[in-house]
């Protein structure tokens, strides 16, 4: 028992663990395939080792000095950062939505285009987010000059207006709303059939300039294209019954007659991708960052200005 305790509080073990950590993170960066429990399994002995080393160090301190405080702080910060990292690992969820200007969504899985979480069954917060305006301006060479969303957050009876920028995520309660990198045109179609009608946006990414979709009610596969973000029309290809192909340039108001119904282009909006993130560990990790920098600065300042200035 004593041997295990001595091993766990050994400072040589810290070196071994950090060296072992190197191939692990390189493999993960290359393959993105290592299961999380390997990292958790690795973090446990590291936490125990750090904790025991710290306690051992604290026991041996006879007189507190500024340097000692720095030493304890920057070592303790690792524990804080690892705790934050583990919390992030277990609580992180990210949802992605492609949303056209003038539309809204609710923070619930069924509203999103993608929803990823590692643990648990989150049902979302129910907070509503409405994209009032998307501002997208370009430089002469086609690169983006300005890009932001004017959004409204609706939570119970409370309404909050906010500007969501590329470098300015919006924190609202436990959610962090970010702009994702994708944007483009979103033609709004209405399908009319004898059985009824249905309307909706098709989002076309600016980098791909085409999008494949299935026309609801009719079931035909179709492709929508645009060439420039300022286009006032789109091109569409529909794979009809018995191999029949419809190709057409459409302006707003144009209607394509198909065998079992019609497809009308009602309007063309602009859309962009947003991500909505929930991460309970981030704040703790950031606190760890601050403690680390403060501790490191306090501890090593002696190398430059204290009695150890000359070694």
């Amino acid at each position: 028992m004593l041997m295990i305790y001595s091993l766990l509080k050994s400072r040589k073990l810290t070196v071994v663990l950090f060296i072992a950590f190197l191939p692990l993170i390189i493999i993960e960066a290359e393959t993105r395939s290592l299961p999380g429990y390997i990292f958790i399994g690795f973090a446990v002995p590291l936490i125990v080792n750090l904790l025991l080393c710290l306690l051992d160090h604290l026991k041996r301190i006879e007189k507190w000095t500024v340097y000692r405080i720095g030493f304890v702080l920057f070592h303790a910060s690792f524990l804080v950062m690892i705790t934050g990292g583990i919390l992030t690992f277990f609580t992180y969820r990210i949802a992605y939505i492609e949303i056209a200007e003038g539309n809204g969504f609710t923070d619930q899985p069924q509203y999103y285009n993608g929803w990823r979480q590692k643990f648990g069954e989150h049902t979302g917060t129910g907070i509503k987010i409405f994209v009032k305006k998307i501002v997208l301006e370009f430089w002469d060479n086609g690169q983006v000059k300005d890009f932001y969303n004017e959004i409204i957050i609706l939570d119970d009876d409370k309404t909050t207006d906010a500007r969501l920028k590329v470098n300015g995520s919006i924190k609202y309660k436990s959610l962090l709303i970010n702009m994702a990198r994708f944007y483009g045109l979103a033609p709004y179609f209405t399908v009319n059939t004898r059985e009824g009608n249905k309307s909706g946006h098709v989002t076309i990414r600016s980098d791909e300039k085409s999008s494949e979709f299935i026309i609801p009610l009719l079931g035909h596969k179709a492709f929508a294209y645009f060439e420039d973000i300022n286009d006032t029309g789109i091109k569409i290809t529909i794979l009809g019954d018995r191999g029949k192909i419809f190709k057409k340039s459409m302006k707003v108001g144009d209607i394509i007659k198909l065998e079992k119904g019609t497809l009308e282009l009602k309007k063309i909006d602009i859309w962009n991708g947003l991500t909505v993130v929930r991460d309970s560990g981030k704040g703790i990790t950031y606190i760890g960052f601050i403690i680390f920098l403060v501790g490191l600065a306090i501890y090593y300042i002696r190398v430059f200005i204290g009695k150890e200035k000359n070694g």
Partner: protein
């Protein structure tokens, strides 16, 4: 404007090469005047490098922190400035220019391998966190460069007889070089920590996650751990002298791999800044 920038860049590369050669010749053949000419040329190189960056800044309309070309170019600028300050401030360190200048020459050589097209200032780059991230990456590289040159001194002092090879006697004493190298690594770890932290804050603002397993991100962490281990070994196990100097050389190779080689060969957000929201 771009042609003028190119002319300045190539002039700076030639001056850097000449400075490196003069440093080495002056040092080995004990010719003080040649060595001093090499030293003077560092200032000329620095002026030319500054002018190259200034010209680009003027026509691109933003600082040198967006494309890989600009980032590497400003890495060299800060590393040179760092070396000039340290070698002027601490006595007897001018001689380590024999190691620092060839490394700077190779670094500026890497700049020419990067695509030189300028990018406009897109919204993703308008972040104080990004500017801090890039700035501290440069400071980390500058201090690593000086630490490496000092460690090389320790190794040469240990393995080359300075009675037969008198030029070795011009190098700083091994013990002093070792201590100064340690100081530079302390500084580099601090700068690298701020670089990683500010980078993660910027990534969080941009993508909603502070760690994305990007190859450069990971290799920066690997470099950070390697330098962190050096300090841990030094404090805990009195790791110093030649062994420590060899360790620093190894760490330098890893850091060059992270800073200069990875962006050319890996698909990473660090080499696709221009692609982001084009």
């Amino acid at each position: 404007m771009a042609e003028f920038e190119k002319t300045l860049l190539f002039a700076s590369i030639i001056i850097c090469a000449v400075s490196s050669v003069l440093h080495i010749v002056g040092w080995i053949f004990n010719k003080e005047s040649i060595f001093r000419s090499g030293r003077a040329l560092i200032w000329l190189f620095f002026v030319l490098n500054t002018a190259t960056i200034a010209v680009r800044w003027r026509y691109a309309g933003h600082g040198p922190y967006i494309t890989i070309y600009e980032v590497l170019m400003s890495h060299v600028w800060i590393a040179t400035l760092f070396f000039l300050i340290i070698s002027s401030k601490w006595k007897g360190l001018k001689v380590i220019g024999v190691f620092a200048m060839p490394i700077i020459f190779l670094s500026i050589g890497a700049v020419t391998m990067a695509p030189a097209e300028a990018s406009k200032l897109t919204p993703a780059y308008r972040s104080i966190w990004l500017i801090m991230h890039v700035l501290f990456a440069k400071l980390a590289y500058g201090s690593i460069l000086v630490a490496t040159a000092l460690s090389l001194t320790v190794i040469l002092r240990a393995y080359i007889n300075n009675e037969r090879h008198t030029y070795i006697g011009h190098l700083p004493e091994a013990e002093r070089a070792d201590i100064l190298s340690y100081k530079m690594i302390v500084a580099s770890l601090f700068f690298a920590s701020i670089m990683i932290i500010t980078g993660s804050i910027w990534a969080n603002q941009l993508w909603g996650k502070y760690w994305g397993w990007d190859p450069i991100e990971v290799w920066s962490l690997v470099t950070w751990i390697i330098y962190g281990l050096y300090l841990h070994l030094r404090i805990t196990f009195k790791f110093k002298g030649v062994k420590a100097a060899f360790y620093v050389m190894f760490a330098f190779i890893v850091s060059v791999f992270s800073f200069f080689i990875m962006p050319f060969f890996m698909t990473t957000v660090h080499n696709s800044f221009m692609k982001f929201i084009e």
